[in-house]
């Protein structure tokens, strides 16, 4: 049957990358959506140069939210905090390689919502 889901989505859903937890993450980020049960837990460890060295995720949810979170973990590698803070919705949607209809954007952006909450907490903890 014709599926709107891209090969990228199907692949990342079936084989999530960087699944699990990190020993000592610097940034921990969560987003729960009670309306559909999507849950994303994201962990980021920074290297000595301040760039993202390791990313891991766990979660439960629809294909789009899980594929998006898996893609996230790959695309965040090597980025600086400022890059993470500047990440846009359109960039994240672009990684999915498929047109995401308006009523599914919330699924696709779930890891970004988590990241933004995690970054805010990180800033607060760092006193800035």
């Amino acid at each position: 049957m014709s599926t709107f889901y891209s090969e990228t989505i199907l692949d990342h859903y079936a084989h999530p990358r960087n699944w699990g937890r990190l020993p000592s993450p610097d940034i921990v980020a969560d987003n729960d959506d009670p309306s559909c049960g999507d849950q994303v837990h994201l962990e980021i460890a920074l290297g000595p140069d301040g760039r993202v060295a390791q990313v891991a995720f766990e979660g439960e949810g629809c294909m789009i939210s899980m594929a998006s979170a898996s893609l996230f973990t790959e695309h965040l590698q090597g980025k600086r905090i400022a890059d993470l803070e500047g990440l846009t919705e359109e960039e994240v949607l672009g990684w999915l390689d498929a047109p995401i209809p308006p009523n599914r954007r919330r699924c696709a952006l779930s890891p970004l919502i988590a990241l933004r909450a995690g970054l805010a907490a990180y800033r607060r903890a760092a006193g800035g």
Binding site: T3, F4, C62, C107
Partner: protein, 406 residues
């Protein structure tokens, strides 16, 4: 019942979605609209539109007459004793809130209990939570069985004299369970409690008579029964409505206004402040005529047949489990889970094939938690659905399972 003829009355049903003929299986959320309803409303706007209850001129008199005439037809549709008992609201939610804010505030005291059931829609939970928080009252829930029936064996012990109100759905929007409202009303009245019935899923789909069961309040929405959005109904017994303080203040609901105080209009207008949604009310009148013309018994029988067929077709799909009672004990909604695929993904794939279903918690999060689920897919049926549409749902689901199942 001639389904082909009925379908011809609903312009939306001949639409194409993603290059497929539309299969609309989400009428429990909101139904499609037949031509007589669309035409009745357009006629008001084109031929006699003017504000009701005020103007001393022909347009206003005609609009007022049509609006109040629609109220009378709604009253007889549910066998109310008269127009005094029919308050127009925006929808079921507003009707329930009206009772919570007026009857509830005047009658619920600290320590009182409000008895709900585990299968209620959020609209029959949250208004009572707000009231209970304000008054220091307590909410109690009549549990359900794992197969989606009310635990009627526990009702007597829960009706302990502290319960002042029982608010119960006539038919669950998720499980499809049709509840024994007559028995609940009898027992609640025996225990001195007032009963509100959420009939949002019942009035559109089966004959409903407010005098049997003898409920005190009953709420439903126009948009689920072929009528427009923005119009709903609160039925209330005249003596109860008469004793209740008003809901919203403003024009139309008053008799006399002084600088410091006001007196209230007669029923039902006491509860209808401001310019009402009278065009929508007239549309609802047309919807009631349309449904009555076909016959509520015939509609209920048609849906029973479709539901039984859908349960039979879906239950043979490996990994599909339907929640709720067997076909002969439910109305026209079938909610299910399928092979661990997230309901949003299923609904999305079905949509790509032109099939509209609902996915999520259907405004019943506590019920889903009780069942150990976060979300389900729900197909719901109405007078215009056909066995061929059920076939398309089953066939497409089978292919969704092959593509996405794990």
């Amino acid at each position: 019942m001639d389904t082909a003829r009925i379908r011809a009355d609903f312009p939306a049903l001949s639409c194409t979605v993603h290059s497929h003929p539309l299969v609309f299986l989400d009428s429990a959320a909101s139904s499609q609209k037949p031509l007589p309803v669309l035409e009745a409303m357009e006629r008001v706007y084109r031929e006699y539109y003017a504000n009701v209850h005020r103007g001393i001129y022909a347009f206003s008199e005609e609009a007022t007459l049509a609006y109040e005439n629609a109220r009378d037809r709604v009253a007889s549709f549910i066998n109310a004793r008269g127009r005094e008992e029919i308050v127009f609201t925006r929808n079921t939610t507003e009707a329930i809130n009206l009772v919570a804010y007026t009857w509830g505030r005047a009658n619920i005291r600290p320590g009182d209990r409000i008895l709900l059931t585990e299968m209620e829609h959020h609209s029959n939970i949250v208004p009572w939570q707000l009231l209970a928080q304000e008054k220091g009252a307590q909410l109690v829930y009549l549990p359900i069985t794992d197969d989606g029936f009310l635990r009627m064996d526990l009702l007597d012990s829960l009706l302990d004299g502290q319960v002042k109100l029982v608010a119960v759905t006539m038919m669950s929007n998720v499980l499809g369970t049709i509840n024994p409202v007559r028995e609940i009303v009898q027992k609640a009245h025996g225990a001195g409690a007032v009963v509100l019935v959420d009939a949002a899923q019942a009035v559109p789909h089966m004959p409903v008579d407010v005098q049997d069961p003898d409920c005190d309040f009953l709420a439903f929405s126009g948009h689920k029964m072929c009528g427009p959005t923005g119009i709903g109904v609160l039925y209330g017994k005249e003596a109860l409505l008469e004793a209740m303080p008003p809901f919203l203040g403003g024009g139309d609901m008053i008799r006399k206004v002084e600088w410091e105080s006001a007196t209230w209009n007669r029923l039902p207008w006491k509860f209808e402040a401001g310019t009402p949604a009278f065009v929508e009310g007239i549309g609802l009148g047309a919807a009631v005529d349309y449904l009555s013309g076909i016959g509520m018994e015939a509609i209920a029988a048609h849906e029973r047949g479709l539901t039984a067929y859908a349960m039979e077709r879906l239950s043979v799909l490996p990994g599909l489990s339907v929640i709720g009672p067997p076909a002969h004990q439910r109305g026209g909604v079938v909610a299910f889970t399928f092979r661990g695929i997230h309901p949003h993904d299923i609904a999305h794939m079905l949509d790509m094939e032109g099939i509209a279903v609902r996915a999520g918690h259907h405004c019943a999060q506590p019920l889903h938690r009780r069942l150990g689920l976060t979300a389900t897919v729900r197909a719901s049926f109405y007078l215009y659905n056909t066995a061929e549409e059920v076939d398309r749902l089953a066939q497409t689901l089978e292919r969704v399972g092959e593509t996405l199942g794990r």
